[in-house]
Every structure is written in structure tokens, then in C-alpha cells.
């Protein structure tokens, strides 16, 4: 992970071994889910553009425990990890990606437009940057409903150049809204490197333009994410308004399933694989003396869970067009 010469906020205390193992299990659940999705997509069971967050799981895993019942999470098309972090059942997600009646949105959302309000997941968004102002609105609602809601919105490095994100950050800062802006900086926007699209790639520094705190953190370590995002949540809950957290990570796969990834720099992926969450957490557990069987068990359990969930989804009926016109209006 290139922190661009900046001090990386947060120290990887690592938490207790239990927490590290729990994190690894969660990372593996997301990883196994998405690897199964890839398999289903390549087999033609799932169709269309599907964006995986493989390699970026630590951010969602670190955030998960911070999100309270009253909070609201807004993600992008690369949002499977976040839906899972919010507790959406894998079978309902598989169902959605497979166009099944049992999908979390009955097939209406698909991979890129999932929504699960009952799980505090107010959805993915497939328009780059568009979720940021919507999240600001969720935070605004909290000012009047007595909930104390914090809204978390996540987007990529490339989204920082979109007008809506700028407006949302200024809006949240000016109105002092409890929003946590999480920029998952995976250094690529589709097939284009962020460093060619900005003069100063230290994106967290843009927070200063809005008079809000901003920091860059290691986005491959759930413990760091938990601590630093936790600080941002605390600021928000205490009435301190928004924060921008730039979480450095790497997308270990293509922008979408099928991406030939010809744009990769030599050695880029090899290096990224040495620093990815599974490695970070596995090494930490090994250093703490946790056995390989336990570590491997996290993967095994996750894969088994996802096989079952996928099978369940595949067995469900396709979304029924009979009701396809419903719910357009009240």
C-alpha cells in the first residue's frame, strides 16, 4: 500500500486474538461470497457487469461493528462487502445477483443497486459520487428524528473528482452533519490510475477545503479501520460533524468480472497480494501462535457457507415478471 509519503493515521494494535480471528472470518466470508459470485458469473448463472471488492474487505469489516441500529450505510456498485457488513444474508445477495425472486430486492436491484433498509444498508449506487449527498440527507434526517444517526458513505478514489461528492462534503461540513465519508482508495478508477487524474494524490487532504478533518489510513487492516473510523464516528456522534477517511487498499481483481486488467503495472498485483487483508490477519494470528488449522478454518467455513447460500439461491425461482409494474407509485 502506497501511503504517498504521508504518515498513515492509526496504529495497528491488532486487538485481541479473538477479534483478529473474527475479522479474518468476516474477510473470508466476503471473499468466499465474491469468489463464488465470480464463478457464477463466468458460468453464466449471473449476468451483466459485476464489480468485486476482493482485497478491499478490511474496510467494511472494520466498519461493521461501528454501525449502530439507527445508522445508515451508503455504498457503490462495489458494495457486496458492505451489504454483508450490514448483515444482509448471503443467500439473499446471491439471489439478487442471480435474478431470483428471493433476491434481497426480488431481482430489481441486481449486483450494482442492492438495497436493504432493514439492515441499515440504504443501498448501492451506480452513479459515481451520487450516494454522498444522499448520505448527507440521512444524517440530516437524524437531526430531526432524535435518533442521533450517523451516515456512512463509501466511494472510490475516482469519485473524489465528481461534483456531487464535493457538494456533499461542503453541505455536510456547513450544516455540521454527522457523516463519515469513506474513500476506498484502490488507486484505480476503472482502467485509469488516480495519480494521473489529480495533481495531489493525497486525497484526504481535500477535507481541509471543507474545514473538516481528513486522514489517510491503512485500509487493509480491520483493526486500523475500526480505530480510525471509530474516531470519525465518535466525532460525528458528539456533534462534531463530518470526517473524511481515505482508506488505502488494492483491488486484487478486475474492475468488473471479465476485465482483462491490461493496465496493471508490472508487479503491482504481486505486491498488493503480500499486503492484503487475508495475509495481514493471517500473519498476525500466526505471530500470536494461532494454529494453521484455525486460520484455514476461517476460509473453509466461509466457503462452505457460501456454497450453501449459492445453492439455495440457485434453487429459487426466477424473479416473476407478473408484479414487475408494481411499486412505481404509492
Amino acid at each position: 500500500m502506497d501511503t504517498g509519503g504521508m504518515a498513515t493515521g492509526g496504529t495497528a494494535t491488532g486487538g485481541t486474538d479473538d477479534q483478529v480471528l473474527a475479522d479474518l472470518r468476516e474477510v473470508w466470508r466476503m471473499r468466499a461470497f465474491e469468489e463464488k459470485v465470480r464463478e457464477l458469473r463466468l458460468a453464466g448463472d449471473a449476468v451483466g457487469s459485476i464489480h468485486l471488492g476482493i482485497g478491499q474487505e478490511a474496510i467494511a469489516v472494520g466498519a461493521a461493528g461501528l454501525v449502530r441500529d439507527e445508522d445508515a450505510v451508503f455504498a457503490t456498485y462495489r458494495g457486496h462487502n458492505w451489504a454483508m457488513a450490514c448483515g444482509v444474508a448471503p443467500a439473499a445477495l446471491f439471489g439478487e445477483l442471480l435474478g431470483r425472486a428471493t433476491g434481497i430486492n426480488g431481482g430489481r436491484g441486481g449486483s450494482a443497486h442492492l438495497t436493504a433498509p432493514a439492515h441499515r444498508f440504504f443501498g448501492e449506487n451506480s452513479i459515481v459520487g451520487a450516494g454522498a449527498p444522499i448520505a448527507a440527507g440521512a444524517a440530516l434526517a437524524g437531526r430531526f428524528d432524535g435518533s442521533g444517526r450517523v451516515a456512512l458513505t463509501v466511494f472510490g478514489d475516482g469519485a473524489m473528482n465528481q461534483g456531487a461528492v464535493h457538494e456533499a462534503m461542503n453541505f455536510a461540513a456547513a450544516l455540521n452533519l454527522p457523516v463519515v465519508f469513506v474513500c476506498e482508495n484502490n488507486s484505480w478508477s476503472e482502467l485509469t490510475p488516480i495519480e494521473e487524474m489529480v495533481r495531489d494524490p493525497r486525497l484526504h487532504r481535500r477535507a481541509a477545503a471543507y474545514g473538516m478533518p481528513g486522514e489517510r489510513i491503512d485500509g487493509n487492516d480491520p483493526a486500523v479501520v475500526r480505530e480510525r473510523l471509530g474516531a470519525a464516528f465518535a466525532v460525528a456522534r458528539e456533534g462534531g460533524g463530518p470526517t473524511l477517511v481515505e482508506a488505502m487498499t488494492a483491488r486484487l481483481v478486475g474492475h468488473y468480472i471479465g476485465d482483462a486488467e491490461q493496465y496493471r503495472r508490472p508487479g503491482e498485483l504481486d505486491e498488493a497480494r503480500r499486503r492484503e487483508p487475508v495475509v495481514v490477519l493471517g500473519d498476525r494470528l500466526r505471530a500470536a501462535g494461532v494454529g494453521e488449522d484455525v486460520i484455514d478454518g476461517a476460509e473453509r467455513a466461509a466457503r462452505e457457507e457460501m456454497e450453501r447460500a449459492a445453492a439455495e439461491a440457485l434453487a429459487a425461482p426466477l424473479a416473476d415478471p407478473a408484479n414487475v409494474k408494481e411499486h412505481l407509485y404509492v
Binding site: 456533499a168 453541505f171 450544516l175
Partner: protein
């Protein structure tokens, strides 16, 4: 709010002499009072009371639920979507409809999708108040009539009230509705007192107004240009031509049956709007009448801006937008058998 006499009409209702702008204010006041989940915000709407004074006094009386925002239409509209998802009922202002285009995504790709994609698990009861139209001296970026854009967005309700009474009723209905609604006002209508009955029951969305009954031709129209349709009808009455004028305060839902019934009776149809003709909503009205197989005695007429940008000089606009006399002449022509 003007301090004119208030007459008791029926229990709990009153008629007051208000301008269109004051009627909008009264509707907002009512909604802010009876629906605690309402919010009212936009550029200059709160402390200054709006650039047209329409929201005057609401910040004072409703406090923090009424607030000013940065010049950030994407943030205004996007935050309204988010607040509505989480149980608020935001009423936001886009000062001119032309400005909505800097944030059109939030309306089309976001607001309109909320209910549908979530199968009703989420709703987005947002009301967007805006105003549009040509007024003397206004530049090309402050003069457009863009209702057709919004009428091609399934999931979004659209109203364009013309009278002060409808400005009140439509807005109250819009705010109470769980559908997102765009209410398009018109700054040239804001002044001039009219009797407005307040505090009536919340009306359903939709409906149309028969502004004048007639037998020889049906004119379907909406917005400020309705006045010209009525002037033309009046002039034609003097020439022995009886024109029915249907004014549509609501365009979505569209009162198709009522339009068809009138055209069936008169056998002649003209649609008049201030928007450009090509791709304008007049085409939809004509297409619905044609599609329903209504037998017309003459081909239907579409009157509006003849596919142009809008120049600033009044003498130039006059060369584009049909006035009452030109409208009358064209309708008269329509009533001649060929």
C-alpha cells in the same frame, strides 16, 4: 401574508385574498404545521424568505426545519432523497427549473428509483418546488419550460398549477403524498390577489380544470400560458367559435379520460404550452388522443415555442411564443372545415 379579511366558509375553512406566492406560502405553512416530518430548504429560502419572497416568515415560525443551503443543487436534491428515505418529508426549492439540470441525476437516477427498486420498502416523499418560464428580459438560461423532461421520468409526479387556489391545493396534496412530486410554479404568476380557500381536505393527486366550456374545439393547456388560451377563447366567442379550455394542473397523473371525453365532443384538438413543440408534452396529449382512436374533424394542432432557444429581448420572444391573437387565429383555422 396579507392581512385581508377572512371569511368563514365551512367548519375549519376560510377564503382569503392571496397572491399565488402567498398561496404557496400558506400551503407550506399548513404542511409544516400539520406534518412534523416536513423540512423546507434550498437557496435563500429561509432567513431571506426566498428570492421571490414566497417562503417569507417560515424560518421565523418553524425554526430549524426551515434552512438555507449552499449553491449545491446536487446536495440539495440528494440530501432530500436521503432524508426522505429515513422518514423525513423534505420540501426543497430549485430556484429556476433550468438549474435542476446541474443535478438532474438526483431526480432521474436517484429519486425516481427509490420506491421501485426497493419494492416499496423505501419511499422518497420529496417535493421539489421550482418555477419556470419566459419573462421579459430573462436570458436563455432562465427562460425554459422543461416539464417534458420530468414527464418522461416514471416514478415522479409532476404538477404545474396555474391559479392561486391550485397552487395551494396542489402543493398540500404533493407534500402529503408519499410519491416524489415536482411542482412547477411560474414567477410571472406570483403577484395579483385571488380568492383562495384554505384548510380544505387534502385532495388526491390529479384532475383537470374546465376553465371554459365549449363545443367547437378543445384546447388543452397548462401553466401561465393558460391565460392566453382563455383570451383567445374569449376573442373567438365573439367570432362565433365556441372553445373548450382544459387546464391541467397535474400532468402526471395525466387526466387522459377527461381529455378524450372533451375531444370526442368537440372533434377538434389544440394543445398549447410554453415549452418547445418538438418533444414537448403536447405530443403526448396528441398521441393519446390519436392512440385512443378519437375521430377528429381536423388534424390536431400543437402550439408552443417553435423549437428555439429563448432570446432575452421581449421583442424577440414575441416573435416566437404565440400570443392570444395568433392562438385565436390558429384555432379558428382549425374550426373551418377543409
Amino acid at each position: 401574508m396579507s392581512e385581508t379579511a377572512v371569511r368563514e366558509v365551512e367548519a375549519g375553512r376560510s377564503v382569503r385574498s392571496l397572491t399565488y406566492g402567498e398561496a404557496v406560502n400558506a400551503a407550506l405553512r399548513r404542511c409544516l404545521s400539520e406534518l412534523p416530518e416536513t423540512l423546507l430548504y434550498g437557496e435563500d429560502v429561509a432567513k431571506p424568505g426566498g428570492v421571490f419572497g414566497v417562503t417569507r416568515g417560515l424560518r421565523r415560525d418553524f425554526g430549524e426545519r426551515v434552512f438555507d443551503t449552499p449553491i449545491s443543487e446536487s446536495a440539495i436534491l440528494g440530501s432530500a432523497v436521503g432524508a426522505a428515505m429515513l422518514g423525513r418529508r423534505p420540501i426543497v426549492e430549485i430556484m429556476w427549473v433550468d438549474f435542476s439540470l446541474v443535478a438532474f441525476d438526483q431526480i432521474v437516477n436517484q429519486l425516481a428509483n427509490v420506491r421501485y427498486v426497493s419494492r416499496g420498502e423505501l419511499a422518497a416523499p420529496v417535493v421539489i418546488r421550482t418555477q419556470q418560464g419566459s419573462a421579459p428580459g430573462a436570458c436563455a438560461q432562465h427562460s425554459q419550460s422543461l416539464e417534458a423532461f420530468f414527464l418522461h421520468v416514471p416514478g415522479l409526479r409532476v404538477a404545474m398549477p396555474w391559479t392561486a387556489q391550485d397552487a395551494y391545493d396542489v402543493l398540500v396534496a404533493a407534500v402529503h403524498s408519499d410519491d416524489p412530486v415536482l411542482v412547477i410554479e411560474n414567477r410571472t404568476l406570483y403577484t395579483g390577489k385571488q380568492d383562495v380557500m384554505l384548510d380544505g381536505p387534502v385532495q388526491p393527486l390529479g384532475g383537470l380544470r374546465v376553465r371554459r366550456e365549449g363545443t367547437d374545439a378543445t384546447v388543452v393547456t397548462w401553466g401561465a400560458i393558460t391565460a392566453r388560451a382563455l383570451q383567445a377563447a374569449e376573442a373567438l366567442a365573439g367570432r362565433g367559435v365556441s372553445v373548450e379550455v382544459l387546464e391541467l394542473p397535474w400532468l402526471n397523473p395525466l387526466p387522459t379520460d377527461e381529455v378524450l371525453a372533451s375531444v370526442r365532443r368537440t372533434g377538434r384538438l389544440a394543445v398549447l404550452h410554453e415549452a418547445n413543440v418538438t418533444g414537448g408534452f403536447g405530443a403526448e396529449v396528441v398521441a393519446r388522443v390519436a392512440g385512443a382512436g378519437v375521430a377528429l374533424r381536423r388534424p390536431p394542432l400543437r402550439l408552443g415555442l417553435p423549437d428555439s432557444r429563448v432570446p432575452a429581448a421581449p421583442s424577440l420572444v414575441a416573435g416566437l411564443l404565440p400570443d392570444a391573437e395568433r392562438i385565436a387565429a390558429q384555432i379558428e383555422d382549425l374550426t373551418h372545415e377543409n
